[in-house]
């Protein structure tokens, strides 16, 4: 099992000027990232749509790498997005998926058939030309540079250690230092979008 913070520290060495969608790993990525204006930490606008959002971003920014840290719960809720991504074949898109096996923000209930799903095979079967699955940090560390040198779309499933939250939403400690609107505004300013 992979520690999310340690994984992000390794990934950050190879991040370059990529656009990063930190997803459910946002709390950890915020403490590692050195380019917050290229980070898009959306929280959860609506579950099941994160990979589609990332696809849209990748299609609109074809000259920049778009790196998403998705979650297995979100992927399961929007599996139909995978064939669309493979259909459009964005060569700048790197689709990492953090798989802790549970719904971590609702108390840690397991996702359906948590122990038996091969997400990398689902992605491969959907048409992703390159897919990976890692369950330890050593293999991830030795492969990440090679993965980011490939043409996308690439799917990378990561078995991570669950970090379960089990307190009411209103009582949770907020880790975000910017609002979603500020994040989008900072990002658009950085890339020069005025819409």
């Amino acid at each position: 099992m992979i520690d999310t913070l340690e994984m992000f520290k390794i990934f950050n060495k190879y991040r370059g000027n990529s656009i990063v969608l930190s997803g459910r790993g946002g709390r950890h990525w915020q403490s590692v990232s050195e380019q917050p204006d290229l980070d898009i930490a959306l929280g959860d606008p609506a579950m099941g749509g994160h990979s589609s959002f990332a696809l849209g971003l990748a299609l609109s920014r074809p000259n920049e790498k778009v790196i998403q840290f998705d979650s297995e719960g979100d992927v399961l809720m929007g599996l139909g997005a995978l064939p669309t991504i493979a259909d459009k074949m964005p060569n700048n898109f790197y689709h990492f998926m953090l798989d802790n096996g549970v719904y971590g923000t609702t108390g840690g209930q397991p996702v359906p058939n948590a122990e038996n799903i091969a997400y990398d095979m689902i992605a491969r079967g959907s048409g992703y030309p390159n897919t990976y699955a890692f369950d330890n940090i050593e293999d991830f560390a030795s492969s990440i540079e090679e993965i980011l040198a490939l043409e996308g779309p690439v799917f990378i499933a990561l078995k991570i250690i669950p970090e379960v939250t089990n307190v009411p939403i209103g009582q949770r400690v907020k880790w975000q230092t910017r609002t979603r609107d500020q994040i989008i505004s900072d990002f658009k300013n950085r890339i020069g979008v005025n819409n």
């Binding site: 959860d44 299609l59 669309t84 609107d181 990002f187 819409n195």
Partner: protein
């Protein structure tokens, strides 16, 4: 005496997309929109993004817009209703100025509605406080332009209900 039937030309819709600077059509087809698909596919300024469930159209459009593109969503009213949370979270919640072209299945101006898809379409849009225009023929072309203008003005989705009961959308 012959009866003149009003029609909504697919060329008119494509030309409106070009006029508005649309870059991507995020859509899920149904059999009635195939004639529009062929024209869209042939138009070099438009990139089609096919989704497999309508809710994905809203998140995809949000990503496109955030990156500087100008998407349009083209789906049927049935899929719109399936997409409530995605409409709310990805487009309304993120202030995405996107036009939703909605095939108004079951719509009839002169007949008796026999399709619950039509029954609930406008109440659905009203519940989400999404402004909409009904377009039935080429005479309504300005309404498509107004939808684009309104979406930019309010930085939120605006819908165009394609209620062409003569030509083939429904």
């Amino acid at each position: 005496m012959s009866t003149q039937k009003a029609e909504l030309s697919p060329d008119l819709i494509i030309n409106e997309f070009k006029k508005q600077g649309v870059t991507h059509i995020v859509w899920l087809p149904d059999s009635e929109t195939n004639f529009l698909y062929l024209l869209m596919e042939q138009e070099p300024s438009l990139t089609l993004v096919p989704v497999s469930r309508e809710g994905h159209a809203f998140s995809t459009a949000a990503g496109l817009s955030t990156g500087g593109a100008k998407p349009v969503i083209l789906i049927q009213n049935t899929g719109l209703m399936e997409s409530g949370d995605s409409l709310r979270g990805w487009c309304m919640g993120m202030n995405i100025p996107v036009v939703l072209m909605i095939g108004y299945r079951g719509y009839t101006r002169h007949g008796r509605n026999a399709d619950t898809a039509a029954t609930y379409t406008e109440p659905f849009l009203n519940a989400f406080n999404v402004k909409y225009y009904l377009v039935e023929s080429n005479d309504d072309a300005d309404r498509i332009s107004w939808a684009f203008e309104d979406a930019e003005k309010i930085q939120n989705p605006v819908a165009v209900l394609i209620g062409d009961e003569f030509h083939g959308f429904n």
